[in-house]
Amino acid sequence: MITVFEKPKSLTPAKTHYCPGCTHGIIHRLVAEVIDELGVREETIGIAPVGCSVLAYNYFNVDMYEAAHGRAPAVATGIKRVHPDKVVFTYQGDGDLAAIGTAEIIHAAARGEKITTIFVNNAIYGMTGGQMAPTTLIGQTATTAPNGRDPEVQGYPIRMSEILATMPGAAYIARVSVHNPQEVAKAKKAIKTAFQVQLERKGFAMVEVLSSCPTNWGLTPLKALEWLKDNMIPYYPLGVQKAPEEVKA
Protein backbone atom coordinates (compact mmCIF):
# COMPACT_ATOMS: atom_id res chain seq x y z
CA MET A 1 0.00 0.00 0.00
CA ILE A 2 1.28 3.45 -0.82
CA THR A 3 0.42 6.23 1.58
CA VAL A 4 -0.48 9.27 -0.46
CA PHE A 5 -1.66 11.47 2.35
CA GLU A 6 -1.37 11.41 6.13
CA LYS A 7 -1.50 13.74 9.06
CA PRO A 8 1.85 15.09 10.24
CA LYS A 9 3.09 13.42 13.44
CA SER A 10 3.21 16.86 15.01
CA LEU A 11 -0.57 17.18 14.83
CA THR A 12 -2.87 15.30 17.19
CA PRO A 13 -5.88 13.39 15.82
CA ALA A 14 -8.18 16.01 17.42
CA LYS A 15 -10.77 17.64 15.18
CA THR A 16 -10.22 21.40 15.17
CA HIS A 17 -12.88 23.91 16.18
CA TYR A 18 -12.07 26.34 13.37
CA CYS A 19 -14.86 27.69 11.17
CA PRO A 20 -15.33 26.33 7.65
CA GLY A 21 -12.90 28.03 5.28
CA CYS A 22 -10.67 29.33 8.05
CA THR A 23 -6.98 29.12 7.14
CA HIS A 24 -5.73 28.32 10.66
CA GLY A 25 -5.97 24.63 9.76
CA ILE A 26 -3.62 25.08 6.80
CA ILE A 27 -1.15 27.06 8.89
CA HIS A 28 -1.23 24.47 11.71
CA ARG A 29 -0.46 21.81 9.16
CA LEU A 30 2.45 23.76 7.68
CA VAL A 31 3.99 24.26 11.13
CA ALA A 32 3.50 20.58 11.97
CA GLU A 33 5.03 19.42 8.67
CA VAL A 34 8.06 21.63 9.28
CA ILE A 35 8.51 20.26 12.81
CA ASP A 36 8.24 16.70 11.40
CA GLU A 37 10.70 17.40 8.59
CA LEU A 38 13.24 18.94 10.93
CA GLY A 39 12.87 15.92 13.24
CA VAL A 40 12.39 18.05 16.33
CA ARG A 41 8.90 17.02 17.46
CA GLU A 42 10.18 15.66 20.77
CA GLU A 43 12.30 18.76 21.35
CA THR A 44 9.62 21.31 20.62
CA ILE A 45 7.57 23.40 23.01
CA GLY A 46 4.79 25.54 21.55
CA ILE A 47 2.78 28.38 23.02
CA ALA A 48 -0.85 28.99 22.10
CA PRO A 49 -2.27 32.51 22.36
CA VAL A 50 -5.63 33.92 23.35
CA GLY A 51 -7.80 34.29 20.28
CA CYS A 52 -9.13 31.84 17.72
CA SER A 53 -6.13 29.57 18.11
CA VAL A 54 -6.45 29.46 21.91
CA LEU A 55 -6.95 25.70 21.71
CA ALA A 56 -3.91 25.10 19.52
CA TYR A 57 -2.45 23.15 22.45
CA ASN A 58 -4.98 20.44 21.63
CA TYR A 59 -3.87 20.25 17.99
CA PHE A 60 -0.08 20.32 18.06
CA ASN A 61 1.32 17.00 19.17
CA VAL A 62 4.18 18.57 21.10
CA ASP A 63 4.56 19.96 24.63
CA MET A 64 2.37 23.06 24.72
CA TYR A 65 1.50 26.07 26.85
CA GLU A 66 -1.56 28.22 26.83
CA ALA A 67 -0.43 31.81 27.51
CA ALA A 68 -2.26 34.89 28.73
CA HIS A 69 -3.40 37.27 25.97
CA GLY A 70 -0.37 38.75 24.22
CA ARG A 71 2.20 37.23 26.57
CA ALA A 72 3.32 34.27 24.48
CA PRO A 73 6.72 35.83 23.62
CA ALA A 74 7.42 36.41 27.33
CA VAL A 75 6.39 32.83 28.14
CA ALA A 76 8.59 31.62 25.27
CA THR A 77 11.47 33.66 26.69
CA GLY A 78 11.12 31.96 30.06
CA ILE A 79 11.09 28.50 28.45
CA LYS A 80 13.97 29.17 26.06
CA ARG A 81 16.17 30.59 28.83
CA VAL A 82 15.62 27.40 30.82
CA HIS A 83 16.06 25.11 27.79
CA PRO A 84 18.26 26.89 25.24
CA ASP A 85 18.66 23.62 23.34
CA LYS A 86 14.93 23.09 22.75
CA VAL A 87 12.80 24.47 19.93
CA VAL A 88 10.28 27.04 21.14
CA PHE A 89 7.58 28.62 19.02
CA THR A 90 4.65 30.94 19.62
CA TYR A 91 1.50 30.90 17.53
CA GLN A 92 -0.30 34.25 17.76
CA GLY A 93 -3.05 36.22 16.12
CA ASP A 94 -3.18 39.91 15.27
CA GLY A 95 -4.98 41.08 18.41
CA ASP A 96 -2.67 39.00 20.56
CA LEU A 97 0.59 40.04 18.92
CA ALA A 98 -0.09 43.51 17.51
CA ALA A 99 -2.37 45.01 20.18
CA ILE A 100 -2.23 43.65 23.71
CA GLY A 101 1.11 41.92 23.24
CA THR A 102 3.00 44.62 21.34
CA ALA A 103 5.50 45.18 24.12
CA GLU A 104 6.23 41.47 24.52
CA ILE A 105 6.84 40.79 20.81
CA ILE A 106 8.95 43.90 20.30
CA HIS A 107 11.16 43.16 23.26
CA ALA A 108 11.49 39.48 22.44
CA ALA A 109 12.74 40.58 19.02
CA ALA A 110 14.95 43.28 20.51
CA ARG A 111 16.57 40.74 22.81
CA GLY A 112 17.06 38.44 19.87
CA GLU A 113 15.28 35.61 21.69
CA LYS A 114 15.99 32.47 19.78
CA ILE A 115 12.34 31.61 19.26
CA THR A 116 10.06 31.30 16.25
CA THR A 117 6.80 33.22 16.05
CA ILE A 118 3.98 32.35 13.69
CA PHE A 119 1.88 35.49 13.39
CA VAL A 120 -1.51 34.87 11.83
CA ASN A 121 -2.91 38.16 10.54
CA ASN A 122 -6.55 38.08 9.41
CA ALA A 123 -7.26 41.74 10.14
CA ILE A 124 -10.06 40.98 12.63
CA TYR A 125 -10.77 39.59 16.09
CA GLY A 126 -12.39 36.26 15.36
CA MET A 127 -13.01 34.53 18.70
CA THR A 128 -14.62 37.49 20.46
CA GLY A 129 -16.91 38.41 17.58
CA GLY A 130 -15.44 40.35 14.70
CA GLN A 131 -14.10 43.39 16.50
CA MET A 132 -11.57 45.74 14.93
CA ALA A 133 -8.00 44.50 15.09
CA PRO A 134 -4.82 46.58 15.04
CA THR A 135 -4.37 45.23 11.51
CA THR A 136 -7.94 45.95 10.30
CA LEU A 137 -7.68 47.85 7.02
CA ILE A 138 -8.90 51.40 6.44
CA GLY A 139 -12.57 51.20 5.51
CA GLN A 140 -12.91 47.58 6.61
CA THR A 141 -15.98 47.04 8.77
CA ALA A 142 -15.90 45.37 12.14
CA THR A 143 -18.41 45.02 14.99
CA THR A 144 -16.58 47.82 16.79
CA ALA A 145 -16.09 49.83 13.57
CA PRO A 146 -19.52 49.39 11.96
CA ASN A 147 -18.93 52.17 9.47
CA GLY A 148 -15.50 50.94 8.56
CA ARG A 149 -12.15 51.82 10.08
CA ASP A 150 -11.71 55.57 9.96
CA PRO A 151 -8.14 56.73 10.48
CA GLU A 152 -9.42 59.91 12.11
CA VAL A 153 -11.06 57.83 14.79
CA GLN A 154 -9.23 54.51 14.97
CA GLY A 155 -5.89 55.34 13.42
CA TYR A 156 -4.01 53.18 10.96
CA PRO A 157 -3.33 49.45 10.68
CA ILE A 158 0.04 48.30 11.99
CA ARG A 159 2.63 46.55 9.80
CA MET A 160 4.32 44.38 12.39
CA SER A 161 6.78 42.67 10.06
CA GLU A 162 8.19 45.98 8.89
CA ILE A 163 8.49 47.19 12.49
CA LEU A 164 10.18 44.01 13.72
CA ALA A 165 12.54 43.93 10.75
CA THR A 166 14.14 47.09 12.15
CA MET A 167 15.24 45.20 15.27
CA PRO A 168 18.89 44.15 15.32
CA GLY A 169 17.86 41.10 17.36
CA ALA A 170 15.49 39.86 14.64
CA ALA A 171 17.26 37.40 12.33
CA TYR A 172 14.43 36.42 10.01
CA ILE A 173 11.15 38.24 9.28
CA ALA A 174 8.91 37.29 6.38
CA ARG A 175 5.32 37.89 5.31
CA VAL A 176 3.52 35.16 3.41
CA SER A 177 -0.04 34.31 2.46
CA VAL A 178 -2.12 31.15 2.13
CA HIS A 179 -4.69 32.29 -0.41
CA ASN A 180 -3.60 29.84 -3.12
CA PRO A 181 -1.46 26.65 -3.37
CA GLN A 182 1.61 28.48 -4.70
CA GLU A 183 1.54 30.88 -1.77
CA VAL A 184 0.96 27.99 0.66
CA ALA A 185 4.15 26.36 -0.65
CA LYS A 186 6.06 29.62 -0.16
CA ALA A 187 4.58 29.99 3.31
CA LYS A 188 5.85 26.55 4.27
CA LYS A 189 9.32 27.41 3.04
CA ALA A 190 9.33 30.58 5.12
CA ILE A 191 8.10 28.74 8.23
CA LYS A 192 10.82 26.15 7.77
CA THR A 193 13.44 28.86 7.48
CA ALA A 194 12.10 30.51 10.64
CA PHE A 195 12.61 27.25 12.55
CA GLN A 196 16.04 26.66 11.00
CA VAL A 197 17.13 30.15 12.04
CA GLN A 198 16.22 29.22 15.60
CA LEU A 199 18.07 25.88 15.39
CA GLU A 200 21.13 27.76 14.18
CA ARG A 201 20.72 30.20 17.11
CA LYS A 202 20.76 33.21 14.83
CA GLY A 203 18.13 35.23 16.67
CA PHE A 204 14.45 36.00 16.66
CA ALA A 205 12.40 34.72 13.71
CA MET A 206 8.85 35.52 12.71
CA VAL A 207 6.61 34.60 9.81
CA GLU A 208 3.52 36.73 9.36
CA VAL A 209 0.86 34.70 7.58
CA LEU A 210 -1.97 36.64 5.93
CA SER A 211 -5.09 34.67 6.65
CA SER A 212 -8.79 34.86 5.97
CA CYS A 213 -11.81 34.98 8.27
CA PRO A 214 -14.89 34.16 6.19
CA THR A 215 -17.15 34.18 9.24
CA ASN A 216 -16.34 37.64 10.49
CA TRP A 217 -15.64 39.14 7.10
CA GLY A 218 -19.11 37.93 6.03
CA LEU A 219 -17.80 36.23 2.90
CA THR A 220 -17.76 32.71 1.50
CA PRO A 221 -14.42 30.93 1.96
CA LEU A 222 -13.52 31.45 -1.70
CA LYS A 223 -14.55 35.10 -1.75
CA ALA A 224 -12.61 35.63 1.47
CA LEU A 225 -9.40 34.39 -0.16
CA GLU A 226 -10.00 36.76 -3.07
CA TRP A 227 -10.62 39.62 -0.65
CA LEU A 228 -7.36 38.79 1.11
CA LYS A 229 -5.46 38.91 -2.18
CA ASP A 230 -7.10 42.12 -3.40
CA ASN A 231 -7.17 44.10 -0.16
CA MET A 232 -4.64 42.81 2.35
CA ILE A 233 -1.64 42.17 0.13
CA PRO A 234 -1.51 45.75 -1.22
CA TYR A 235 -1.23 47.05 2.34
CA TYR A 236 0.77 44.11 3.69
CA PRO A 237 3.18 43.28 0.86
CA LEU A 238 4.48 39.70 0.78
CA GLY A 239 8.14 38.85 0.94
CA VAL A 240 11.15 38.43 3.18
CA GLN A 241 11.64 41.57 5.24
CA LYS A 242 14.88 40.48 6.80
CA ALA A 243 17.04 37.37 6.63
CA PRO A 244 20.57 36.22 7.38
CA GLU A 245 22.87 36.56 4.31
CA GLU A 246 23.02 32.84 3.51
CA VAL A 247 19.22 32.55 3.63
CA LYS A 248 18.76 35.48 1.23
CA ALA A 249 21.16 33.92 -1.24
Partner: protein, 356 residues
Protein backbone atom coordinates in the same frame (compact mmCIF):
# COMPACT_ATOMS: atom_id res chain seq x y z
CA UNK B 1 29.47 29.06 57.93
CA UNK B 2 30.21 32.35 59.67
CA UNK B 3 27.51 34.96 59.97
CA UNK B 4 27.57 37.87 57.59
CA UNK B 5 25.89 41.25 57.87
CA UNK B 6 23.57 41.62 54.93
CA UNK B 7 20.69 43.68 53.62
CA UNK B 8 17.37 41.86 53.47
CA UNK B 9 17.04 42.23 49.72
CA UNK B 10 20.51 40.82 49.09
CA UNK B 11 20.06 38.04 51.61
CA UNK B 12 16.90 36.96 49.78
CA UNK B 13 18.90 36.80 46.56
CA UNK B 14 21.61 34.61 48.02
CA UNK B 15 19.03 32.45 49.78
CA UNK B 16 17.22 31.88 46.48
CA UNK B 17 20.45 30.70 44.88
CA UNK B 18 21.15 28.40 47.83
CA UNK B 19 17.63 27.00 47.32
CA UNK B 20 18.48 26.00 43.77
CA UNK B 21 16.88 28.94 41.97
CA UNK B 22 18.76 29.70 38.76
CA UNK B 23 16.27 31.95 36.98
CA UNK B 24 15.10 35.45 37.83
CA UNK B 25 12.86 37.70 35.76
CA UNK B 26 11.97 41.15 37.04
CA UNK B 27 11.50 44.83 36.45
CA UNK B 28 13.12 47.61 38.52
CA UNK B 29 11.19 49.19 41.38
CA UNK B 30 12.09 50.70 44.76
CA UNK B 31 12.47 49.46 47.50
CA UNK B 32 13.50 45.98 46.28
CA UNK B 33 16.20 46.95 43.79
CA UNK B 34 19.11 45.47 45.75
CA UNK B 35 17.63 42.02 45.10
CA UNK B 36 17.86 42.21 41.29
CA UNK B 37 21.20 44.03 41.60
CA UNK B 38 22.53 41.15 43.64
CA UNK B 39 21.16 38.47 41.37
CA UNK B 40 22.30 40.22 38.18
CA UNK B 41 25.82 39.74 39.47
CA UNK B 42 25.42 36.43 41.26
CA UNK B 43 23.22 34.30 38.98
CA UNK B 44 25.65 34.21 36.03
CA UNK B 45 28.36 33.06 38.47
CA UNK B 46 26.36 29.90 39.18
CA UNK B 47 25.28 29.33 35.58
CA UNK B 48 21.89 30.94 36.04
CA UNK B 49 19.96 33.54 34.10
CA UNK B 50 19.04 37.02 35.26
CA UNK B 51 16.80 38.85 32.84
CA UNK B 52 15.42 42.36 33.19
CA UNK B 53 12.06 42.22 31.47
CA UNK B 54 10.28 45.02 29.62
CA UNK B 55 7.57 45.15 32.29
CA UNK B 56 6.30 43.36 35.37
CA UNK B 57 3.67 41.81 33.12
CA UNK B 58 6.34 40.31 30.89
CA UNK B 59 8.44 39.28 33.89
CA UNK B 60 5.68 37.22 35.51
CA UNK B 61 4.92 35.56 32.17
CA UNK B 62 8.59 34.67 31.80
CA UNK B 63 8.25 33.11 35.24
CA UNK B 64 5.21 31.20 33.94
CA UNK B 65 7.32 29.93 31.04
CA UNK B 66 10.31 28.95 33.15
CA UNK B 67 8.21 27.36 35.91
CA UNK B 68 6.26 25.30 33.37
CA UNK B 69 9.56 24.19 31.88
CA UNK B 70 10.53 22.72 35.24
CA UNK B 71 12.92 25.31 36.69
CA UNK B 72 13.06 26.85 40.14
CA UNK B 73 12.32 30.46 39.25
CA UNK B 74 11.46 33.68 41.02
CA UNK B 75 10.51 37.29 40.50
CA UNK B 76 10.43 40.20 42.89
CA UNK B 77 8.80 43.58 42.97
CA UNK B 78 7.11 46.08 45.22
CA UNK B 79 3.44 46.95 45.55
CA UNK B 80 2.57 48.72 42.25
CA UNK B 81 4.67 46.21 40.36
CA UNK B 82 3.04 43.27 42.11
CA UNK B 83 -0.37 44.59 41.05
CA UNK B 84 0.84 44.39 37.47
CA UNK B 85 1.92 40.80 37.97
CA UNK B 86 -1.47 39.70 39.24
CA UNK B 87 -2.79 38.52 35.88
CA UNK B 88 0.18 36.22 35.45
CA UNK B 89 -0.01 35.02 39.05
CA UNK B 90 -3.60 33.94 38.49
CA UNK B 91 -2.50 31.93 35.42
CA UNK B 92 0.38 30.40 37.37
CA UNK B 93 -1.96 29.36 40.17
CA UNK B 94 -4.50 28.09 37.64
CA UNK B 95 -1.88 26.08 35.74
CA UNK B 96 -0.49 24.83 39.09
CA UNK B 97 3.08 25.95 38.59
CA UNK B 98 5.61 26.39 41.38
CA UNK B 99 7.44 29.70 41.69
CA UNK B 100 8.39 32.31 44.26
CA UNK B 101 7.22 35.91 44.16
CA UNK B 102 8.70 38.51 46.48
CA UNK B 103 6.74 41.63 47.40
CA UNK B 104 8.72 44.26 49.32
CA UNK B 105 5.65 46.32 50.11
CA UNK B 106 5.59 50.09 50.01
CA UNK B 107 2.90 52.64 50.84
CA UNK B 108 -0.12 52.81 48.51
CA UNK B 109 -2.58 53.06 46.86
CA UNK B 110 -1.54 54.04 43.35
CA UNK B 111 2.04 55.10 43.03
CA UNK B 112 1.91 55.70 46.79
CA UNK B 113 5.36 56.14 48.26
CA UNK B 114 8.60 54.24 48.37
CA UNK B 115 8.57 53.99 52.15
CA UNK B 116 7.57 50.73 53.82
CA UNK B 117 3.94 49.60 53.90
CA UNK B 118 1.81 46.54 54.59
CA UNK B 119 -1.28 47.50 52.66
CA UNK B 120 -1.03 44.63 50.17
CA UNK B 121 -2.10 42.08 52.79
CA UNK B 122 -5.51 41.49 51.23
CA UNK B 123 -4.02 41.22 47.75
CA UNK B 124 -1.48 38.66 48.98
CA UNK B 125 -3.66 36.42 51.13
CA UNK B 126 -6.91 36.51 49.19
CA UNK B 127 -5.35 35.58 45.86
CA UNK B 128 -4.95 39.03 44.37
CA UNK B 129 -5.86 38.27 40.78
CA UNK B 130 -9.06 36.88 39.29
CA UNK B 131 -10.51 33.52 40.19
CA UNK B 132 -10.59 31.30 43.27
CA UNK B 133 -6.97 30.74 44.08
CA UNK B 134 -4.57 31.33 46.91
CA UNK B 135 -0.90 31.96 47.22
CA UNK B 136 0.99 30.42 50.06
CA UNK B 137 2.17 33.61 51.80
CA UNK B 138 5.22 33.71 54.05
CA UNK B 139 5.97 36.79 56.15
CA UNK B 140 9.50 36.99 57.52
CA UNK B 141 10.35 39.44 60.30
CA UNK B 142 14.14 39.26 60.31
CA UNK B 143 16.89 38.85 57.78
CA UNK B 144 17.68 35.36 59.03
CA UNK B 145 14.05 34.43 58.68
CA UNK B 146 14.02 35.81 55.13
CA UNK B 147 16.83 33.40 54.32
CA UNK B 148 15.15 30.47 56.03
CA UNK B 149 11.76 31.15 54.47
CA UNK B 150 13.23 31.46 50.97
CA UNK B 151 14.37 27.85 51.15
CA UNK B 152 10.99 26.85 52.51
CA UNK B 153 9.20 28.88 49.82
CA UNK B 154 10.79 26.90 46.99
CA UNK B 155 10.17 23.60 48.76
CA UNK B 156 6.50 24.41 49.38
CA UNK B 157 6.04 25.75 45.85
CA UNK B 158 7.23 22.40 44.49
CA UNK B 159 5.31 20.37 47.07
CA UNK B 160 1.99 22.01 46.22
CA UNK B 161 2.71 23.12 42.65
CA UNK B 162 1.55 26.54 43.76
CA UNK B 163 3.05 30.03 43.69
CA UNK B 164 4.49 31.13 47.04
CA UNK B 165 4.76 34.77 47.99
CA UNK B 166 7.30 36.19 50.38
CA UNK B 167 5.57 39.25 51.75
CA UNK B 168 8.10 41.70 53.12
CA UNK B 169 8.23 45.45 53.29
CA UNK B 170 10.66 48.25 52.55
CA UNK B 171 12.14 48.09 56.03
CA UNK B 172 12.97 44.39 55.81
CA UNK B 173 14.45 44.85 52.36
CA UNK B 174 16.71 47.69 53.39
CA UNK B 175 17.81 46.65 56.86
CA UNK B 176 20.92 44.67 57.71
CA UNK B 177 21.22 41.92 60.27
CA UNK B 178 23.69 39.08 60.66
CA UNK B 179 22.69 35.97 58.74
CA UNK B 180 23.86 32.46 58.21
CA UNK B 181 23.12 30.71 54.91
CA UNK B 182 22.32 27.05 54.38
CA UNK B 183 24.43 24.85 52.13
CA UNK B 184 23.93 25.23 48.39
CA UNK B 185 21.29 22.91 46.92
CA UNK B 186 22.24 21.40 43.59
CA UNK B 187 19.40 22.20 41.17
CA UNK B 188 20.33 19.08 39.18
CA UNK B 189 19.56 16.91 42.18
CA UNK B 190 16.10 18.31 42.86
CA UNK B 191 13.19 15.91 42.25
CA UNK B 192 12.12 15.58 38.61
CA UNK B 193 8.95 17.29 37.45
CA UNK B 194 7.32 14.82 35.06
CA UNK B 195 4.50 17.28 34.34
CA UNK B 196 6.85 19.95 32.97
CA UNK B 197 6.96 20.98 29.31
CA UNK B 198 10.49 20.11 28.25
CA UNK B 199 9.83 18.36 24.93
CA UNK B 200 7.62 15.27 24.60
CA UNK B 201 10.41 12.74 24.34
CA UNK B 202 8.92 9.24 24.35
CA UNK B 203 5.71 10.34 26.06
CA UNK B 204 2.43 12.11 25.40
CA UNK B 205 2.71 15.91 25.28
CA UNK B 206 2.47 17.88 28.53
CA UNK B 207 0.23 20.90 28.44
CA UNK B 208 0.65 23.90 30.73
CA UNK B 209 -2.76 25.47 30.84
CA UNK B 210 -5.41 27.19 32.90
CA UNK B 211 -8.23 27.07 30.34
CA UNK B 212 -11.15 24.70 30.93
CA UNK B 213 -14.01 25.46 28.57
CA UNK B 214 -16.16 22.71 30.09
CA UNK B 215 -17.71 24.19 33.26
CA UNK B 216 -17.83 20.83 35.01
CA UNK B 217 -14.13 20.29 34.38
CA UNK B 218 -13.33 23.78 35.60
CA UNK B 219 -15.36 23.20 38.74
CA UNK B 220 -13.45 19.96 39.35
CA UNK B 221 -10.23 21.86 38.82
CA UNK B 222 -11.34 24.44 41.39
CA UNK B 223 -12.23 21.71 43.85
CA UNK B 224 -8.79 20.23 43.37
CA UNK B 225 -7.20 23.61 44.06
CA UNK B 226 -9.31 24.08 47.18
CA UNK B 227 -8.25 20.66 48.43
CA UNK B 228 -4.65 21.83 48.16
CA UNK B 229 -5.41 24.94 50.20
CA UNK B 230 -7.13 22.79 52.82
CA UNK B 231 -4.06 20.58 52.97
CA UNK B 232 -1.86 23.67 53.34
CA UNK B 233 -4.01 24.82 56.26
CA UNK B 234 -3.57 21.42 57.89
CA UNK B 235 0.15 21.06 57.30
CA UNK B 236 1.85 24.37 56.72
CA UNK B 237 0.79 26.97 59.28
CA UNK B 238 3.66 28.65 61.05
CA UNK B 239 3.72 31.28 63.74
CA UNK B 240 5.64 32.67 66.69
CA UNK B 241 4.14 33.23 70.12
CA UNK B 242 6.09 35.56 72.38
CA UNK B 243 5.06 35.79 76.05
CA UNK B 244 1.51 34.81 75.21
CA UNK B 245 1.04 32.09 77.86
CA UNK B 246 -0.13 34.43 80.59
CA UNK B 247 -0.88 37.46 78.44
CA UNK B 248 -3.85 39.66 79.24
CA UNK B 249 -3.25 41.56 76.06
CA UNK B 250 -1.93 39.94 72.91
CA UNK B 251 -0.48 41.99 70.09
CA UNK B 252 -0.74 40.59 66.58
CA UNK B 253 1.52 41.74 63.78
CA UNK B 254 3.65 40.39 60.97
CA UNK B 255 6.87 41.44 59.31
CA UNK B 256 8.58 44.58 60.54
CA UNK B 257 5.45 45.65 62.47
CA UNK B 258 5.88 42.51 64.54
CA UNK B 259 9.38 43.67 65.47
CA UNK B 260 7.94 46.94 66.78
CA UNK B 261 5.34 44.92 68.68
CA UNK B 262 8.05 42.78 70.23
CA UNK B 263 9.84 45.84 71.56
CA UNK B 264 6.49 47.15 72.83
CA UNK B 265 5.83 43.83 74.62
CA UNK B 266 9.27 44.07 76.25
CA UNK B 267 8.53 47.59 77.47
CA UNK B 268 5.03 46.73 78.65
CA UNK B 269 6.36 43.74 80.58
CA UNK B 270 8.89 46.06 82.25
CA UNK B 271 5.92 48.16 83.35
CA UNK B 272 4.28 45.08 84.80
CA UNK B 273 1.71 44.64 82.03
CA UNK B 274 1.15 41.07 80.93
CA UNK B 275 1.53 41.65 77.21
CA UNK B 276 2.45 39.13 74.54
CA UNK B 277 2.85 38.93 70.79
CA UNK B 278 1.37 36.53 68.27
CA UNK B 279 3.16 36.69 64.93
CA UNK B 280 1.74 34.78 61.98
CA UNK B 281 4.58 33.60 59.72
CA UNK B 282 2.24 32.02 57.20
CA UNK B 283 -0.37 34.65 56.35
CA UNK B 284 -2.04 32.13 54.10
CA UNK B 285 -2.80 29.59 55.43
CA UNK B 286 -3.56 31.64 58.55
CA UNK B 287 -2.45 29.90 61.76
CA UNK B 288 -5.92 29.68 63.24
CA UNK B 289 -5.41 27.10 65.99
CA UNK B 290 -2.19 28.82 66.98
CA UNK B 291 -3.73 32.28 67.34
CA UNK B 292 -6.60 30.84 69.34
CA UNK B 293 -4.14 29.16 71.67
CA UNK B 294 -2.05 32.30 72.00
CA UNK B 295 -5.09 34.41 72.87
CA UNK B 296 -6.62 31.86 75.29
CA UNK B 297 -6.10 34.11 78.32
CA UNK B 298 -6.33 37.41 76.53
CA UNK B 299 -8.81 40.05 77.59
CA UNK B 300 -7.92 42.09 74.54
CA UNK B 301 -6.06 41.71 71.27
CA UNK B 302 -4.32 44.55 69.48
CA UNK B 303 -3.43 44.20 65.82
CA UNK B 304 -0.63 46.46 64.62
CA UNK B 305 0.07 46.90 60.94
CA UNK B 306 1.27 49.41 58.38
CA UNK B 307 -2.15 49.68 56.76
CA UNK B 308 -5.57 51.00 57.61
CA UNK B 309 -6.72 47.60 58.82
CA UNK B 310 -6.34 44.43 56.77
CA UNK B 311 -4.68 41.77 58.92
CA UNK B 312 -7.10 42.79 61.67
CA UNK B 313 -9.99 41.30 59.70
CA UNK B 314 -8.33 37.88 59.58
CA UNK B 315 -7.46 38.17 63.27
CA UNK B 316 -11.10 38.80 64.19
CA UNK B 317 -12.29 36.03 61.87
CA UNK B 318 -9.80 33.47 63.11
CA UNK B 319 -10.47 34.31 66.76
CA UNK B 320 -14.13 33.81 65.88
CA UNK B 321 -14.98 37.16 67.47
CA UNK B 322 -14.52 35.72 70.98
CA UNK B 323 -12.02 38.36 72.11
CA UNK B 324 -12.25 42.10 71.49
CA UNK B 325 -9.77 42.86 68.72
CA UNK B 326 -8.41 46.41 68.57
CA UNK B 327 -6.41 47.99 65.84
CA UNK B 328 -3.50 50.35 65.52
CA UNK B 329 -2.21 51.14 62.06
CA UNK B 330 -0.04 53.64 60.25
CA UNK B 331 -0.12 54.12 56.50
CA UNK B 332 1.50 55.83 53.58
CA UNK B 333 5.02 54.79 54.52
CA UNK B 334 4.74 55.77 58.19
CA UNK B 335 6.02 53.11 60.56
CA UNK B 336 4.41 52.49 63.98
CA UNK B 337 6.71 53.50 66.83
CA UNK B 338 7.29 51.37 69.89
CA UNK B 339 6.20 54.26 72.07
CA UNK B 340 2.85 54.60 70.27
CA UNK B 341 2.17 50.87 70.54
CA UNK B 342 3.04 50.87 74.25
CA UNK B 343 0.69 53.76 74.89
CA UNK B 344 -2.04 51.93 72.99
CA UNK B 345 -1.42 48.91 75.23
CA UNK B 346 -1.61 51.05 78.35
CA UNK B 347 -4.85 52.58 77.15
CA UNK B 348 -6.38 49.15 76.61
CA UNK B 349 -5.23 47.94 80.02
CA UNK B 350 -6.83 50.98 81.65
CA UNK B 351 -10.06 50.23 79.84
CA UNK B 352 -9.86 46.73 81.27
CA UNK B 353 -9.64 45.14 77.86
CA UNK B 354 -13.21 46.00 77.02
CA UNK B 355 -14.36 46.16 73.47
CA UNK B 356 -13.67 49.45 71.73
Amino acid sequence: MAKVLMKGNEALGEAAIRAGCRFFFGYPITPQSELPHYLAKRLPEVGGVFLQAESEVAAINMVYGAAGAGARVMTSSSSPGVSLKMEGISYIAGAELPCVIVNMQRGGPGLGSIQPGQADYFQAVKGGGHGDYRLLVLAPASIQEMVDLMGLAFALADKYRNPVMILGDGTLGQMMEPVEFPEMLDPEKLPQKPWAAQGAKGREPNIINSLYLNPLELEDHNLKLQAKYTQMAAEETRSESYYTDDADIVLVGYGSSARVCKAAVDQARQQGIKAGLFRPITLFPFPKAEIQAACRQAKAVLTVEMSMGQLVEDVRYNLEFRVPVHFYGRAGGMVPTTRAVVSKITELVQEGGRSA
